[in-house]
């Protein structure tokens, strides 16, 4: 008996400490002033990855569903390849926004979901994401070094950019000075594939041009040997290989120190630009930041009032035992929020949404159910004339099965809710299911342990219940 209490106490302590540890960064974050938050956000501080994540409906942002138009594909292209290309194009564009933690996922056969938290200019985002991909090949200016056209702050000084040239960003934080006019566009390409071979048996990308493209490319390569030709997708430089020799037949090879992964990416970019799959926006939900702030304030107030009401009620109804149940409610909340913060970092990407806040409030009311079941049982046992000790143990034992059955059926409903929902509704399903699981734990393990601790070594004639 003693030993089992010790174990329960240790497990409970570990869980609570972990939950508090996971919540601590969130606590720190919300104590900071708005200016500090902006500063940390700009410097991409590590704390951002650790705080409890808010859903788009609370943080503000954009949820888009794009349909890849597979009906207008040229013959002979497989739909799955078209989807992959469309995803690459979208990813490339979203990366250019500089939105923190964008989410891009496939949904079904032809839909792509894009989530842009905190996007500042939604109209520009739509414009950029919705347009057809443009692949261009542009010559790099070798005469001028990038450092020469930067001002003292490290930004591009437009006055120093030579006429007929432009500065475009690369995939990493590099800049390229390119001729404004493109040499050739993606329309001239027919295919791009990864192959392995050559001198060092390394992956390389083989590019095929159509007839006119081949002629054009032969001319370009002939006069620009030893110069860099940048591959630009939607205004971002993907790679800038050196032209080694004239390519007369329209079969070019891009070599480099490619890993398989990098080579595949480049080939995908080239294919995406060669056969752009048009995308249509079929769903757009944009929430401004102020709406979320108001909702959070209202939600927290509702939670507080609800919490106080339930706690008072429990103490009035169950007296001292009600206090134990109240402790369980508090633990439920701490563990629930801690788990949400933890799961936000993992692949689950749990976020707190507005219905999620409602879910937490609901859990405050519903989670006492397990304790109510137990307490009512204990009362029955006491009425039947059992001693305090026996009544408590019997109460827990008899209520266990009921708690299990009733909660599992609720979990089944929550699981399908999770399956069904996206965004806000999913957030609700997560808080609800976690809350149910946690409340089972606190009711069955924690409150029982507290009763045992209180009663340890004492003979209590009357239980305050």
């Amino acid at each position: 008996m003693q030993k089992s209490i010790q174990w329960k106490a240790i497990i409970t302590a570990v869980i609570v400490i972990l939950a508090v540890a996971y919540l601590y960064p969130t606590y720190q974050w919300y104590r900071k002033s708005p200016e500090e938050k902006v500063k940390l956000e700009e410097s991409k501080d590590k704390i951002l990855g650790k705080i409890l994540k808010l859903g788009l409906d609370l943080k503000g942002g954009m949820h888009l569903v794009l349909e890849v138009d597979l009906n207008r594909l040229p013959e002979g292209t497989s739909p799955s390849d078209a989807m992959e290309r469309a995803l690459e194009v979208i990813r490339n564009r979203v990366d250019q926004f500089g939105v923190a933690e964008p989410l891009i996922t496939r949904q079904g056969d032809r839909w792509v979901v894009v989530e842009l938290p905190g996007v500042k200019d939604p109209e520009r985002a739509i414009e950029l994401i919705g347009k057809t991909a443009l692949l261009e090949f542009k010559l790099v200016n070798d005469g001028v070094r990038i450092s020469e056209i930067l001002d003292s702050e490290g930004k591009v000084d437009p006055g120093k950019v030579p006429a007929g040239y432009e500065v475009l960003p690369g995939r990493e934080e590099t800049l390229f000075l390119l001729k404004e006019e493109s040499e050739i566009t993606g329309a001239a390409l027919t295919n791009a594939k990864v192959k392995i071979g050559g001198q060092y048996n390394m992956p390389y990308v083989a590019v095929d041009f159509n007839k006119e493209g081949a002629r054009e490319f032969a001319r370009i390569t002939e006069v620009n040997i030893e110069r860099n030709l940048a591959i630009v997708l939607d205004g971002r430089v993907q790679s800038a290989p050196v032209i080694k020799s004239k390519i007369p037949d329209g079969h070019a090879i891009i070599e480099g120190n490619f890993t398989m992964e990098k080579a595949k990416d480049l080939a995908l970019v080239l294919r995406a630009g060669a056969l752009p799959a048009p995308v249509n926006i079929i769903e757009n939900r944009t929430i401004g930041p102020s709406l979320g702030r108001d909702s959070i304030r209202a939600g927290v107030l509702a939670a507080m009032i609800g919490l106080i009401c339930v706690m008072c009620f429990m103490v009035i109804y169950y007296k001292l035992s009600g206090l134990i149940a109240n402790l369980a409610i508090i633990l439920n909340l701490i563990i629930l929020l801690g788990m949400m913060a933890y799961l936000g970092r993992t692949f689950v990407r749990a976020t707190l949404t507005l219905p999620g806040i409602a879910g937490i409030i609901l859990i405050i009311g519903m989670s006492v159910d397990a304790n109510v079941l137990i307490f009512e049982r204990i009362r029955e046992e006491l009425r039947a004339g059992k001693t305090v000790r026996v009544a408590i143990d019997a109460g827990y034992q008899k209520a266990f099965r009921t708690i299990l059955d009733s909660n599992i059926t609720t979990l089944i409903a929550a699981a399908f809710l999770f399956q069904f929902g996206s965004g806000p509704v999913k957030g609700f399903a997560v808080t609800l299911s976690l809350g149910i699981l946690i409340s089972m734990f606190t009711a069955i393990v924690v409150t029982h342990m507290i009763f045992d601790m209180v009663l340890m070594g004492k003979r209590i004639e009357k239980l305050s219940i």
């Binding site: 108001d294 009620f313 507005l354 009512e376 059955d405 599992i408 059926t409």
Partner: protein, 297 residues
């Protein structure tokens, strides 16, 4: 403190009345749903929703007049009480939702240029997405029902328990849906979530009673079934009331204080608590009784 001491209500004997009451509520709901029609929100029909916050008072009439000048007389306009926040919804009919969104934004720019306004929310849902969400929502409900039936049938060794439990649950969801339709409230994604939640809540309540019946059947196998069921419901009555009350307290606080966005969501759960509590006492177990009696005849 205690609500009930030892009670001895004759629930089984009142089952006919309960069945009639429930039947009436179901008929009324069905009439509303099939005759009046469900007011599906743009989540399911496709369409456009804009929530704007003006810096000065603009009346619904003013807005309606402005919108009809631009051939958008079909829009629904909703104004939040005590604020200058307005929600405008246009369901997609002939014109695509994207065009309507664009049109609305240019109307605001044109007509209210002097007044400062911010667009808090802008939702555009294509009709394909609406259809898809409808299908997925229906599937989620059917699978959840099936999952619950199977689980209960397995735990209680007998399909009738699962079936009766789920019948009570469908009864709750259907009537809540009906009340929403009668009141003309919109069915949106969060409302569907609320309906699934109350499905979980209602079955939870029912299981507690079932568990007690199962236990009592084992202990008091000589007693007639009606008596066992009655005493089981009576014994769990305190708990049923207690849990309903604590849940009611929190849902009321969301309903009153939680802000306009989740107002309808909490309203759905609020109705669900009442109906769910009622059905777990008056419908779920009496259904099992009715089945057993008819079978043994």
């Amino acid at each position: 403190m205690q609500f009930f001491g030892k009670t001895n209500f004759k629930f089984i004997e009142k089952r006919k009345k309960a069945f009639i009451l429930s039947g009436l509520m179901i008929l009324l709901s069905a009439y509303a749903i099939f005759h009046k029609g469900v007011n599906f929100g743009i989540d399911f029909t496709g369409g456009t929703l804009v929530q704007i916050n003006f810096s000065r008072e603009i009346t619904v009439g003013e807005m309606r007049e402005t919108l009809s000048r631009h051939e958008l007389s079909g829009a629904t306009i909703q104004k939040f009480p005590n604020s200058n926040v307005m929600i405008i919804r246009v369901k997609s009919l002939d014109v695509g939702p994207v065009e309507i969104a664009r049109k609305l934004s240019s109307i605001f720019q044109e007509e209210f240029s002097q007044d400062q306004f911010t667009i808090d929310r802008n939702e555009v849902v294509g009709p394909v997405v609406g259809e898809y969400l409808k299908k997925r929502g229906t599937k989620a409900f059917l699978l959840a029902f099936l999952g619950i039936i199977i689980y209960i049938a397995w735990r209680f060794i007998g399909g009738i328990w699962g079936l009766a439990g789920v019948t009570a649950l469908i009864h709750d969801v259907f009537i809540t849906f009906g009340i929403f339709t009668i009141l003309g409230k919109e069915i949106t994604l969060p409302i569907v979530a609320a309906l699934l939640t109350l499905a979980g809540y209602s079955i939870n309540d029912t299981i507690v009673v079932y568990d007690r019946i199962r236990e009592n059947i084992r202990l008091q196998y000589k007693k007639p079934l009606a008596e066992v069921i009655n005493s089981s419901i009576n014994e769990t009555l305190s708990r049923t009331m207690m849990t309903s009350l604590t849940t009611l307290l929190v849902v009321l606080s969301i309903f009153i204080l939680g802000g306009p966005v989740i107002h309808d969501f909490s309203f759905a759960i609020l109705i669900g608590i009442f109906i769910g509590t009622y059905s777990s006492i008056f419908i779920a177990s009496p259904l099992v009784y009715e089945w057993r009696v008819r079978k043994s005849r």
